[in-house]
């Protein structure tokens, strides 16, 4: 990507939704998805990030990965605000099934019921799930 960017903003803005369904360290999906989100954000797209199923565990506070010799990427979710990615959603049913509340998460999120999530998903132009 060119380092210089157009001060007027991007020419085409699409509604992108990234649906995170995987726990953070057992597979590489979560980290790769986060990189995709950052790239879309660099192109100033209208980014929506959803966490459902085990994806909600990506946001769990107090991750400490020294013992498994992997990079803890949970702090990067806090950088998303600076990338103007502020539309973060967590599915209520997934959170409750795991006995978690929003207080357990590293960033402020909007909690949506499956019903509300369905409606939001329907409005997207590009959807990527992992």
């Amino acid at each position: 990507m060119e380092e210089e960017w157009d001060e007027d903003g991007p020419e085409v803005v699409k509604r992108f939704m990234y649906v995170n369904r995987k726990a953070p360290y057992g597979t590489v999906y979560a980290l790769e998805m986060l990189e995709k989100v950052l790239i879309a954000a660099a192109f100033e797209q209208d980014v929506h990030v959803v966490f459902m199923d085990d994806g909600v565990y990506q946001l769990k506070k107090e991750q400490e990965t020294k013992g498994i010799n992997m990079k803890n990427f949970s702090p990067t979710f806090r950088a998303l605000e600076g990338y103007d990615v502020e539309k973060l959603y967590v599915e209520k049913e997934s959170l409750e099934a795991r006995g978690l509340t929003v207080d357990d998460l590293v960033v402020p999120v909007e909690v949506l019921s499956s019903q509300d999530l369905k409606a939001l998903m329907d409005k997207q132009e590009v959807i990527l799930t992992a």
Binding site: Y25, Y57, G67, I68, A97, R98
Partner: protein, 101 residues
């Protein structure tokens, strides 16, 4: 007696369920990697382990628990946390290891 290791989240896969179905009383099950989510209490899958507690010995790998930010979460009563050294001891102590993938 066998040691079983389970590395998949019970929310996403039926690995833990299958393991429990064929697991003899007296055997050990060690939860590792994403399998550690199964050790948490107050979840919709906690009963899987609770039903067999007392018959099977359950362990969870500490470094995987900490990595996932679960160090301060409530674990199901009776699950023992081990480190990598403890993992090796468990393998040694059992007749064979069945690594569920």
């Amino acid at each position: 007696m066998l040691l079983h290791t389970v590395n998949k989240s019970p929310f996403e896969r039926n690995t833990l369920e299958s393991c429990l179905r064929v697991c003899e009383d007296g055997a050990g099950i060690l939860l590792i990697e994403d399998g550690v989510y199964g050790a948490l209490d107050n979840t919709v899958v906690a009963d899987l382990i609770k039903k067999r507690m007392g018959n099977i010995k359950f362990y969870v790998l500490g470094p995987d628990v900490d990595a996932r930010g679960l160090g301060n979460q409530t674990m199901i009563d009776g699950i023992e946390t081990v480190d990598f050294g403890g993992f090796v001891d468990l393998v040694e102590k059992h007749s064979a290891t069945q690594s569920w993938l």
